[in-house]
Structures are given as structure tokens and as C-alpha cells.
Subunit: 202 residues, 2 copies
Amino acid sequence: MPKVGMEPIRRKALISAAISAIHARGSLDITIRDIASRAGVSQGLAHHYFGSKDRLIVASMRYLLSQFSEQVRSGLQQARAPRQRLSAIVRASLGEEQFRPEVVSAWLVFYVHAQESDQARQLLSIYLRRLRSNLLHELRPLVGDRAPAIAEGIGALIDGIYIRHSLRSGPGHFRDGHRLVEDYIDLQIGFTQAGSGSVSDA
Amino acid sequence: MPKVGMEPIRRKALISAAISAIHARGSLDITIRDIASRAGVSQGLAHHYFGSKDRLIVASMRYLLSQFSEQVRSGLQQARAPRQRLSAIVRASLGEEQFRPEVVSAWLVFYVHAQESDQARQLLSIYLRRLRSNLLHELRPLVGDRAPAIAEGIGALIDGIYIRHSLRSGPGHFRDGHRLVEDYIDLQIGFTQAGSGSVSDA
DNA sequence: GTTTTTATTGAGCGGCTGTTCAATATAAAA
DNA sequence: TTTTATATTGAACAGCCGCTCAATAAAAAC
């Protein structure tokens, strides 16, 4: 078996510990000592591998974003038709993986953090652009030039459902969120086909 | 002229200063010294009137919520028909007043804070319930028993548009948000009247 | 077996924080 | 005027924070 150095192991453990600490505290107001202790190492080691608290935070954010991206990618690989690919995106955005309590807390906190940190805002913007681009690509053949507005609507609905979920106490409520977005998509598609909009030009 | 004590004046100044500080910092990680200095008084005075930092934060949150409630109330007083009252609610929720940068920051921060503070969560729940109740009351005569789902959709859309706005850089984007919600409402109403749903029973 | 690299610790430093409190100035009441 | 209540300050305190660093243990390289 290949003996690897400790670095990747510790990095991952510290990132997980940071996300867990953010959830426990409900904000970015967490201490390196707390994170290190959750990861089972000393404060010094956290600095050794990440240099500063800020860099550890950014690394955690990047980790969450990359995990979400992979969920989307894997979902899209199993769907061919545009309408089904839309569902795949919704499923990835509101999937159980994204609703793990720690993950929800971290996303919320990062959204807020993006207001003060340029780096955080840049990272989130990438996520927003990619999601928008994915939605547009699938919507265009279905609704023509109404795609931009509908993509914005879907994105806002997803974010709104997500943030509202975080205020509820209980566990469930997943399926309702999906349904809400799916109905929205179907309504908009139906309206386009029966309404005054251009019935596509391809 | 009626000579009032300093208390109400200082309380309001400190609350405004707190909201301003939250905006500047982008989080609740602010110091009493900073708040007091923005209000033009000493740290000691802030404690004299609010007792603790926590109570000052909660007072600021309450202030924002009450101001929003009044916007809704005043909007509803000028509209009679259900469909127009819905527009009034949307207008209050996505009005310029709510998009003042300081207000946006404060709302976001409070949403996150609600995850750790029971008091904050309770306050936000009241806002959510009242908004939902208002929407349901106007939706029922228009869409019958589809009202709950549509109310949830409208609420999520509003919150999503709000949170997404906070990540944009520029000033504008107000009108687009309104339009998105109004279209959603019209689509849902149209679908109800032409679709398979119960056409109301009143 | 010696040297060098990696892994890890925890004490310590300077600095900032919420809060307390004694002191004082101002205004109201007597 | 004297007394009392209100308004206001800023120094002081105890405590926590991010971060540095010298010390050491273990592993790899030689």
C-alpha cells in the first residue's frame, strides 16, 4: 500500500473540523483552537498546514463548492434531454447532500462572508455563473429568449428554498422544495409553448 | 416644546450605529467600541442603555423587523383587491427601503444569527409567519387550495432574489426582481383558472 | 548510524474584547 | 442652595485570540 504523507489527511480533517465548528457556532466567529481540537491536533499544526485562519476558511469554502460541482456534474451525466437535465440540476442543488445541517450552515455563513471578503465573493460568483450557464444551456431549446429570466427565477427559487429551510426546525421538507421548482419550470415551459413568446427558431 | 430625556435619542442612535457597523464589517463580529464611536458616545454609555452587546443586537433586529412590518401595513392600506394586495406585499418586500445596503447586510447577518440564537430565530419566525399569513389571505380567493404552495413559492422567490441581490455589485436590479415575482403570481393564477384545480368554492 | 526532512506540540506574546466601576458633569427637585 | 437623579466618561480587568517559535519526536534519506 502506498504510504502518503500526513499533509492531505490533516488538511481534510481540518477542513471538516472547520465546517463542523462553523455549524456549531453558527458563524465564522470560531477559533483555530476549537477547529484543531475537533480535528484532534494542536493549534500549531493548523497554522503549519494552512498558514492562517483565513486561508483555512477559504479552503473550506472551496471544498464545499467543489463537492457541489461534482454533484451537478454526476447528475448531468445521467440525463440527456434538456428537461431532464434541468431536473438533474435541481436535484443536485436541493439534494440531501446539500441539506446536511453542517453544509447548510456553512453555505449561509459563506454567503454572508462574501459581503466582506473579495476572495469569498469571487468564489461564490463562479458558482452562480456556472449554475446560470448550465440552466441557460438547457432552457434555450425549451423557451427560446425567455431563458435568461427563467434561469434567474429558478436560481432565486432554489436559493430561497434553501435559506428558508435553514430556519425550519425539523428534518424533512426536501420533496416540497423539489416540487416547487419543478412546477415552476413546467409552468414556464407550458406558457412558452402556448403563449405569445417565440416558439423557438431552431 | 417637550423636553425629553436622552434615553430614546441615544437608543436610536446606537441602533443605527450598530446596523451601520454590521454593514461595514459584514458580520456580527463588531465591537461595542466601534458602535459607540459611530454613535458619537463612549463604550460605557452603550452598556448603560442596553446592558450588553447581545441586547443591543437584538434591539437592532427588532427595529429592522418593525420597520419592515410598517412598510407592509402601509402598502396594504392602499390596495383593496386581492391581486393588488399581493403586489403591495411584493413591493414592500423588495422595495428600495429594504435594499439599502446597510439593511441588506443586517438582514443577511440576522438570518445567519438565527441559527445560533433562539431569540433571533423566534423573531424571524414571526416575520415568516406573518408574511405567509398575509399571502395566504390574498391568495385563497384567487387560487383556492393551491394557496399554501404558491405562498411558499412567492416567499422563497422573494428571499432568493434578496439574497442574490446582495452578491451583485452595482446598484440597480430592483425592477427585475419585482417582475420575476409578479410573473410568477400571474402564471399561477392563470394556471388555476384554466387548469384542473378547484376553481374556488366561495 | 548519521543526517536531514517531516510532523507535532504547547508555552508565550501582543493585542483586542465585553464588561465593570468609580468619578464627574449636568440637569431637576427640594 | 442643597440634594437627588440623570448622563457620560474612560481607565482598568480578566480573558480570549491569532500567530510565532523553539523544542522534540518520528521517519526518510544517505
